[in-house]
């Protein structure tokens, strides 16, 4: 059993891909599975900064939102093809990450969380006020992806399963990218900074630049999640940008296990699935969510996946 898990650890991207390929068949409906893909990616992008670098940002919803809105606006107002629109969304989010990161990394600890919250809210208001482009409170509607052709085979985006696999393609690419980053020297520097920032600086690493770089990468990935979300829902809701949405990313990472590779994804899956199921039983899903979250913070700070991993005594460093 141990060696099986070691196998997974070494080929984590492949394992993730295989699991996600069959995922829609175990979920009650595809739209939920797609939501999990999207928010799983969102949480993983967020986790780059939080779990691996120890920076708790409460403004990451801004990147989810920028990705969603820019992609949506490209399609709705400018009629651009969806591929280009996704690219615009990601680049836009990365630029947003550059700006926000530049301002935020000057602060540390709790101030960092608060600055990111404030900056995130500013982004929220900007998009809110730009009503003619974004639809303001009503959100942006009409993000449609018409049937297109791959090698002459027509692909109907409205078919839920087809939609899932297309989005999965992007998510897999992003996951692979994250894995590469974490396995690279950059990944090692990230964890070094998390463990002891002063020491990392003393060893000669440019801490500020690393933080900014990771901030931008994290933003870009969250932006991709946002772009995919716009295509999935055909709309962009304004509350994508609110700090409560950022809080969701935090919850998912904690629930799944921050600082683990696949943990945030598991956290997103559990949280969204629970929310879906709990909503049918009781109106008080917020209390259930809060209680579950508190329970994990108190007793399983490593999160679901983190606890499983440590129980199997797999070397955390290889994650």
């Amino acid at each position: 059993m141990n060696s099986f898990f070691q196998l997974i650890a070494r080929h984590r991207v492949l394992a993730s891909t295989l699991f996600l390929s069959v995922f829609p068949f175990i979920m009650p409906y595809e739209a939920l599975a797609i939501n999990i893909l999207i928010f799983g990616l969102f949480a993983m992008g967020f986790n780059l900064l939080f779990g691996y670098m120890g920076l708790l940002s409460f403004g990451h919803a801004a990147f989810l939102g920028i990705g969603s809105y820019l992609t949506g606006i490209s399609i709705v107002h400018y009629g651009l093809p969806w591929g280009t629109s996704i690219l615009i969304g990601v680049i836009g989010a990365a630029i947003g990450g550059l700006l926000m990161g530049f301002l935020a990394i000057r602060t540390r600890g709790i101030y960092f969380s608060m600055v990111t919250l404030a900056l995130g809210q500013i982004v929220f208001y900007i998009f809110y006020k730009a009503e003619s482009l974004t639809g303001g409170e009503n959100g942006l509607r009409g993000v449609r992806v018409d049937t297109f052709n791959i090698f002459g085979i027509p692909v109907d985006f409205l078919n839920p399963l087809v939609k899932y696999y297309i989005i999965l393609t992007f998510v897999v690419l992003a996951i692979w990218l994250i894995s590469r980053i974490l396995n690279s020297p950059l990944g090692a520097v990230m964890e070094a900074i998390r463990e002891n920032e002063k020491r990392a600086a003393a060893c000669g690493f440019d801490v500020a630049k690393t933080k900014l770089l990771v901030f931008v990468l994290s933003a870009a990935i969250c932006g991709l999640a946002g772009s995919l979300r716009a295509l999935h829902l055909s709309i962009v809701p304004i509350d994508s940008l609110h700090y409560l949405q950022s809080g969701q990313a935090v919850m998912m990472s904690i629930l799944g296990g921050m600082g683990t590779f696949f943990g945030p994804f598991i956290g997103a899956a559990v949280m969204l699935y629970l929310e879906d199921v709990v909503t049918t039983f009781t109106k008080h899903w917020m209390a259930v969510l809060g209680l579950v979250f508190m329970f994990f913070v108190l007793f399983f700070p490593k999160g679901i996946w983190g606890t499983i991993l440590s129980k199997l005594q797999i070397n955390q460093d290889s994650k």
Binding site: L117, Q121, I122, G290, M294, L298
Partner: protein
């Protein structure tokens, strides 16, 4: 702008101070908890909301505002004590983030509990009889209750300040905030001090809630924007500074009020811009210690 008179500006300023008084009180509570325990209470807005509900509820059944005013913070304070002892304390030493995250989850639960107890609609808030209506303050008619608000928060803030500066308990709290180890060595049960300070912070939050309740609608979601606003105030003032909390609270209230006069649709944005500006120019806040937290 049509109708811009000196009187209007003064009225707007006064309104801002009334608004800021609530912010100052809230920030004071947050600040105490942070200064002493290094814990950011993400449930502060929720305690504010609980205080508002309890206040309106007791006012409704007893008809006595002063009684509610004393009972409510006691109850929210007790709730704070329980929270600290069973939920927050196990997390000390695990890093700054954990208590923050826990209190974030707690806020979800508190909101839902209030929904279950009092219904999703919220309660119609009541202005106590003696304090309703307007009074001529020379430049115009201003609601009596808001004058009371300014006065009451001033009294409470001075009271808390005296408590911290002039009593033995206050001395212990200050010492504990400065250096926990030494205080422990000197034989003080630091755990009890943490407990009381957290309780005090939550009591203040609840008190802000009941004081604010006649000015706004009392519903389970009322604490959510309040939380963000309290953070803005705390950051502008400086995370550990009580003076900073009060000054920043009034400043934020006035900024919001004056922006509402000239650019009403930007009023909510203005306080976040203020926060960003302060953070960029003076990251420790107006009264915070340099390098304390970034």
């Amino acid at each position: 702008m049509t109708g811009l008179t000196f009187e209007l500006l003064c009225m707007q300023l006064l309104t801002g101070i009334a608004l800021g008084s609530i912010y100052a009180l809230l920030a004071l509570g947050l600040c105490l908890i942070f200064g002493m325990l290094n814990v950011v209470n993400f449930a502060h807005g929720a305690f504010f909301m609980v205080g508002a509900f309890l206040g309106v509820y007791f006012l409704g059944i007893t008809g006595n505002f002063w009684f509610s005013l004393i009972l409510t913070p006691l109850l929210t304070g007790c709730l704070g004590l329980v929270t600290e002892k069973f939920l927050v304390r196990p997390l000390y030493g695990r890093g700054l983030d954990y208590p923050l995250l826990l209190t974030f989850g707690l806020s979800y639960v508190l909101i839902e509990v209030m929904r279950i107890t009092f219904g999703i609609e919220g309660l119609p808030s009541i202005t106590p009889d003696g304090l309703s209506g307007t009074v001529n303050v020379g430049i115009g008619y201003f609601p009596k209750y808001r004058l009371f608000l300014i006065g009451a928060t001033a009294v409470i803030i001075i009271g808390v300040w005296l408590f911290i500066q002039k009593t033995r308990y206050g001395l212990i709290i200050k010492a504990g905030a400065a250096d926990q180890e030494i205080v422990k060595v000197l034989g003080v049960d630091i755990a009890k001090v943490w407990l009381l300070v957290f309780g005090l912070g939550c009591a203040i939050a609840g008190l802000s809630g009941i004081l604010a309740s006649p000015t706004r609608s009392v519903n389970p979601e009322m604490g959510i924007p309040i939380l963000a606003e309290s953070f803005v105030v705390t950051v502008v003032g400086g995370m550990g500074s009580t003076v900073g909390a009060v000054v920043a609270g009034l400043l934020v209230g006035v900024v919001y009020s004056m922006t509402s006069l000239f650019f009403p649709d930007l009023s909510e944005l203005s306080i976040f811009v203020l926060m960003a500006v302060v953070l960029l120019m003076r990251p420790q806040g107006l009264f915070g210690k340099a390098g304390a937290m970034g």
